[in-house]
């Protein structure tokens, strides 16, 4: 199974980083949502919606998966902000953590210490994966709690569906997991000293812009499916908004493929420190 010694030590190692990310994300959500009551003041929204209706801004809003009418609902406002920033932040957190949790042992040459202990390669990957998943889930519990809290604090007269909030949150978690699995596998392919961080950031930003392009350019719609972002359903206000099998399967399937590839690769990898 997993090695408890590695798990505990690594959990402690990333504790401060997790706390930092949690605080940032929480502040981000609360600050962002604090704009909602301001926006809903009568004349304010009229001014803004006129501004949002101009073709350029309309495109911009489409790009971020939002529309002016979505913003009148508190969950609509939350989810478009969420789509824009929290999902991006969470994806960065996920890919960066997964990209270093295993590869760092080689980069910092501690792999020689770790792998001469009585542990199998697979135990090492499993333990590291467990630490990564624990961190990812904890961060997402923070996102969930603070998100829900912010909706309650700032909703005013607006009503929202808890189910829709939960589903949107869950899609975002699956997205982050997928990027993590990609990062974990890529970190094993990269030669020591190469910048995994810039590659990780490049992947997220690239995928994000592919998604945006496909939203503003109808002809590029299919092209958008190259990006995991495209598989998120952001239509939280639709009555039929639900967890859809093929979307969930896409995220879980892709994650599983990269995790299995990681196990296969690490089992046979020569550790050259």
């Amino acid at each position: 199974m997993i090695n408890a010694n590695i798990y505990t030590k690594e959990l402690k190692r990333y504790r401060n980083s997790l706390i930092g990310w949690s605080i940032s994300v929480a502040v981000f959500i609360l600050l962002g949502m604090a704009f909602y009551p301001l926006l809903m003041q009568e004349d304010m929204f009229k001014q803004i919606s006129a501004f949002l209706e101009n073709p350029f801004m309309k495109n911009m809003m489409t790009a971020f998966g939002a529309s002016a009418d979505m913003w009148t609902n508190v969950l609509g406002f939350y989810s478009t902000r969420n789509a824009m920033f929290i999902m991006l932040l969470g994806s960065f957190f996920s890919i960066l953590l997964a990209g270093k949790i295993l590869a760092r042992e080689e980069q910092e040459k501690t792999a020689e210490f770790l792998l001469t202990k009585p542990v199998t390669r697979l135990e090492v990957v499993r333990s590291k994966l467990a630490v990564y998943l624990t961190n990812l889930i904890l961060l997402n519990i923070v996102i969930f709690t603070i998100g829900l809290l912010s909706l309650e604090i700032f909703k005013g007269d607006s009503r929202y569906s808890f189910k829709a909030f939960f589903i949107h949150w869950f899609y975002a978690l699956l997205l982050m997991l997928t990027f993590g699995a990609i990062g974990l596998f890529l970190s094993l392919l990269i030669k020591r000293g190469r910048p995994i961080i810039s590659l990780s950031i490049g992947i997220i930003v690239g995928a994000y812009f592919i998604d945006i392009l496909s939203r503003v350019t109808p002809s590029a719609d299919k092209f958008g499916y190259l990006s995991p972002f495209k598989f998120i359903d952001t239509g939280v206000l639709r009555p039929d908004y639900a967890l859809v099998g093929w979307r969930v399967f896409y995220f879980l399937g892709l994650s599983l493929v990269f995790i299995v590839l990681t196990f296969v690769r690490y089992k046979k990898k020569d550790i050259l420190v």
Binding site: N5, K109, E112, P118
Partner: protein, 301 residues
């Protein structure tokens, strides 16, 4: 097939890094309880051999057994009983020494706490210091403790003395001898012959990825190899004397230095009639014997 039970045994163990040579057909037999020296210059394949034994890298061909267990399939079982000191120390920099040693100890079933404190005392190591703040020598001490605390029956040491001051080196050798007297087998890799000479009964010499000799230290020394210095009354030439057994003649002003594997009688006959000021015959150091092995290998090519 199984004649004698060796603690470490490899057959045709070979490792290529892509096309680059690592080690070629390494055959080793190390007996339980011995201190085995593994000698060769940097890049000869010492670390590659050790890394293959420890499962850090996988052999291209051939096989190896430690405690009768397969080095690839049973690596975890094997590592339960090994203490390893790498040639270069790299630890988790943010940990303090005690955390690092406890982390290391927790991988084994033995309780190591008292041993940590005892050995830290012996080596005068401060357990509360952060790894990153330690000097190279102190990091090396952590590495020594880390390899010893779980009291493994086999120690694999890859150039363990580099970076240790002579005093600590002496303490370290004392502890190794003590462990060995309790039955611990030690595989000691080094490029310094003098320390191997102090510690080991047998020595394997590796060069360009191949084992070129495995000998008892005593046999090595008794190989009748002599170190000869002749001082002439005129500038010396390399081919000044003609006698079978002269190795690497090296003239320096009036002196001629060489290793000599022939008989003293032949040499004296060859010197007959020469104008000689002085003649010195010494027992060569292992270093010189070692160089001789190398040149012999070169001559065969």
């Amino acid at each position: 097939m199984m004649g004698k039970m060796y603690l470490i045994e490899t057959q045709n163990l070979t490792k290529y890094y892509g096309k680059a040579r690592g080690i070629i057909n390494i055959d080793l037999q190390i007996e339980p309880g011995e201190i085995f020296g593994f000698i060769g210059p940097n890049g000869a394949g010492k670390s590659t051999t050790i890394r293959t034994l420890l499962g850090l890298i996988f052999p291209t061909s051939g096989r190896g057994r430690i405690f009768g267990l397969d080095i690839v399939k049973d690596s975890k079982e094997i590592k339960k009983q090994i203490g390893f000191m790498p040639s270069e120390v790299h630890y988790y920099e943010k940990m303090d020494v005690h955390e690092l040693l406890s982390y290391s100890a927790n991988f084994y079933e033995t309780d190591c706490e008292s041993r940590i404190v005892e050995l830290a005392g012996t080596f005068d190591l401060d357990l509360d210091r952060k790894i990153i703040d330690l000097s190279r020598g102190n990091q090396k001490k952590v590495s020594i403790l880390q390899s010893l605390i779980h009291q493994p029956p086999l120690l694999i040491l890859d150039e363990p003395t580099s970076g240790l001051d002579p005093l600590m080196q002496a303490k370290f050798f004392d502890i190794l001898k003590e462990e060995n007297s309790k039955g611990t087998t030690i595989f000691f890799s080094s490029h310094t012959l003098s320390e191997v000479q102090k510690m080991c009964r047998r020595v394997g010499i590796i060069k360009d990825g191949k084992i070129i000799a495995v000998e008892d230290i005593e046999t090595l020394r008794k190989k009748q190899l002599r170190k000869i210095q002749i001082e002439f009354n005129h500038p010396a030439e390399p081919d000044e004397i003609d006698c079978p057994g002269i190795i690497d003649p090296n003239p320096e002003k009036n002196n001629l230095f060489f290793l000599f594997s022939g008989t003293i009688n032949d040499l004296l006959h060859a010197l007959d009639g020469k104008d000689i000021e002085d003649l010195i015959i010494e027992e060569p150091t292992l270093e010189e014997i070692f160089m001789h092995y190398y040149s012999e290998e070169n001559d065969k090519r």
